[in-house]
Structures are given as C-alpha cells and as structure tokens.
C-alpha cells in the first residue's frame, strides 16, 4: 500500500472509533435520562464547595525540569534520522552524535549543579 492509503486507513480507523462512541452515547440517551436535581453536578471536592471556577494559576513547580526537557526534546528530533543511518555511516556518526550528546549532557550537569533538578 502507498503511504497515502495507509494514512487514509488510519484516518478511517479514527472516524470509526469516534462514530462507535457517538453511537454508544446516542444509545444511552435513547434509553432515558435521570431527573435533574440541584447539587448533583457539583465537582468532587471532599464535601466542601470549591471556589468557582478552579481555572486559575497552577504553580508548575517542575519548571526547572521543563526548561531542560525542551533542550532534550529538540535533540530527539535529530536522533531518529541519525539512528536509521547510523550503521551505514559508522564511526563518524558515533563521534558526531557523541560530541552533540556530550554538550547536552554538560548542560544537564550544569542545570543539576544550579539546582534545576529539584521540585521548586
């Protein structure tokens, strides 16, 4: 199969799953609905009504990791094509990527020494 056919097959799969779930929802709706009562639709909060809405600022205490993660995530974009041709290119590929990884790893060590690898 050509790659276009493969991707259309995957798209058809997605559409099929979504349609099945929608059909299920429709079936449940046809079976009948429950009586609406006040207080039924309050989000779980251990018996205390939370201040509405809860969509506020969440302190992402892992921001130190997140910054390092960006560097490593970018690196992975280069590593996949490199991995495929690695055996073909041989030792040069190992040197090239070794230098690149060493620089990144130094960055990780520097971040660690500055306390980035800690929940802030």
């Amino acid at each position: 199969m050509s790659f276009l056919e493969l991707y259309s097959l995957l798209l058809a799969l997605v559409v099929g799953i979504v349609a099945t779930i929608l059909g299920l929802y429709g079936f449940v709706r046809v079976m009948g609905s429950a009586r609406g009562e006040p207080g039924k639709d309050v989000p779980a909060s251990s018996g205390v009504l939370s201040r509405d809405p809860v969509w506020g600022r969440y302190h992402a205490r892992y921001y130190g990791y997140a910054l390092l993660f960006l560097a490593f995530d970018m690196e992975m974009a280069f590593m996949y094509p490199w991995a495929v041709v690695y055996k073909e290119v041989g030792l040069v590929a190992l040197y090239d990527m070794g230098v690149f990884l060493a620089i990144l790893f130094l960055g990780l060590l520097y971040g660690w020494s500055q306390g980035a690898l800690r929940r802030q």
């Binding site: 790659f3 939370s50 969440y58």
Partner: protein, 298 residues
C-alpha cells in the same frame, strides 16, 4: 479483515486485563464481570459538572481511546498482521502516545473541579519525567534495526532479542511505559488516595466506561510496543507468529498490573528526580553502548 482481527485482539486483551484487575482487587475470578460492569455503566447517569469546558470534557475519553488504538495500529502481531506498516512506525508510536498527555490534561481541565485540575497538571510533570525514557531507548532499537519500520525492527531481532542485546533500554522503557499508562506506582494524575480519583473523578456513566476502556487499551498498546521493540515480537518456536505476539503482549501487560499491585505510589518530586538524575544518563549510556556494540560486533 486485518483491522477486524487486530481490533478484536485488542478488545480481548483489554477484557482479560479487566478480569485480572478485578481478580486482584476482589479475590474472585469472574470472567463476565467486565461485561456486566460495562453494561451497568451504560445504565447509570452520566453527569456533566456544573460549569464545564464542554469540548475538553467530552473529547478527553474519546481522544485517549483513539490514540491508544492508533498506537496499536502500527504495531505488528505477525509479519502480515498489521493495520498500517508505516515507514516511520516507531516514530508514529511516539507521536500517537504523546497525545495521552493532551487527553489527560483535557480530562483534568474540562470538568472545572479542583482535584481533576491538579491531576492534569501533575501529569504534565510526569510527562517531563518519563518522556525521554520512552524516546531514547527506541532510538537505540532503531539503531540496531537501521529502520523505523516496526516489522523491520522485529525482523532485526530474529537471532537475538533486544532484551538481551540492550537490557538497560528494556528496563528504562518498561518503567517509562508504566508511567505513560499512569498505572499504579505512577498513577499520580488519578491517585485515589490523595486526589479522590483526580482526572477520573468527574466522569460517570457511559463516559467513565469509555475512559476505563481507553486506559486498559493503553496498557495493551504499551505492552505490545514493549514486545515489538524488545521481546522479539512474533519470533518463537512451534506456535504461530501471532500467538507468540499475543502471549508476550499479555505477559508484559499482566506483569505491569502485578508490579503496580505490590508497589506504593511514588511521589511526583521523587519520580522527576530519579528520572532525570539516573534515568536520562542511563538512557544516554544505553545509546552509546549499543552504538559501540553495533560497530564492534558485526
């Protein structure tokens, strides 16, 4: 035809996992229980919280199920039993599973409940911890196979499985896969004890049924990925190839449930610290070791 067989295998495996999960929780082995529980969910009320982000709330369980099935669609059960043998199969598995994060954050944000919200943002931290340990071991697998095609990756393990060739990568990938599926020692976003269900908390009725099915499917998909990347896929004596794939996948999935059953939940701060201080250097080491092995051993 292939699509139907793979989807049936996926559904059957999810059913078996549900039976075993129930067995571990209640001590009774009842094969029909998942079916009845699923039907009961259909009969129950499916409550929409008071002021939801409706799009996110509705889309989250569906998206989780879709990405789990898409991940499975590019993994082979046998040489010709694969829905789509993409040229970038191993990368596609990553790309599909990256959307697990999106689905979980949507499930946390959507209902406008405090616990779900914390669960969703927690999972973002969890992604930062496990993500590198998924992609880096797969790189080492692709280096050996010289390809990202999943059938070629299994083919490269005909003589020696990757679990022997790169055991370090297997261990890292296995742990990271459990964290990705947010199963029990890593169930931070849905922690029953501390978040009252977290991202699962606001889902009831038919939506909860879809969410539960999606989570079980995700475990099967990740177990299948472990099988394809490390356990030699369909290779094995006597039995037909697809049988070996299924046996290995189920064995990995059940082992994940068992490990989760006996270990306490890990703290978020500890998970991130261990993954970055120990996991990522080990993953880089794994790439270098495999690189040297490929060059030295013909």
């Amino acid at each position: 035809m292939t699509v139907a067989i793979v989807l049936l295998a996926l559904l059957g495996s999810a059913w078996l996992l549900a039976v075993i999960e129930g067995w571990m929780a209640t001590g009774r082995l009842s094969p029909a229980a998942p079916l009845f529980r699923g039907l009961a969910h259909l009969g129950r009320e499916s409550i929409v919280p008071r002021s939801p982000d409706r799009v996110f709330f509705e889309a989250a369980p569906v998206l989780l199920l879709v990405v789990a099935v898409l991940g499975m669609a590019v993994l082979p059960l046998a040489p010709d039993l694969i829905i789509a043998d993409l040229g970038t199969g191993a990368l596609f598995v990553n790309a599909a599973l990256a959307y697990v994060l999106v689905a979980v954050i949507m499930a946390g944000w959507g209902p406008d409940g405090a616990y779900g919200m914390i669960g969703g943002w927690r999972f973002l931290g969890q992604l930062i911890a496990y993500s590198m340990l998924i992609v880096m071991p797969i790189t080492a697998v692709a280096m050996r196979a010289e390809s990202l095609v999943n059938t070629a990756i299994v083919g490269s393990q005909a003589g020696l499985w990757n679990i022997v060739y790169q055991p370090l990568g297997f261990v890292l990938f296995y742990i990271a896969a459990m964290a990705l599926a947010f199963r029990a020692p890593f169930d931070l976003p849905s922690a029953e004890g501390e978040l009252g269900g977290g991202v699962d908390a606001e889902y009831t009725g038919v939506r909860l049924a879809v969410l539960r099915l999606a989570r079980l499917t995700l475990v099967v998909t990740l177990a299948s990925a472990t099988t394809v990347f490390y356990l030699g896929g369909w290779h094995g004596p006597l039995l037909p190839p697809s049988a070996w794939s299924l046996i290995k996948t189920l064995a990995v999935a059940v082992s994940m449930l068992l490990v989760g059953h006996y270990l306490p939940r890990i703290r978020e701060a500890n998970l991130m610290r261990w993954c970055w201080v120990l996991g990522i250097p080990l993953a880089l080491l794994n790439i270098i070791i495999v690189g040297l092995l490929i060059l030295v051993v013909p």
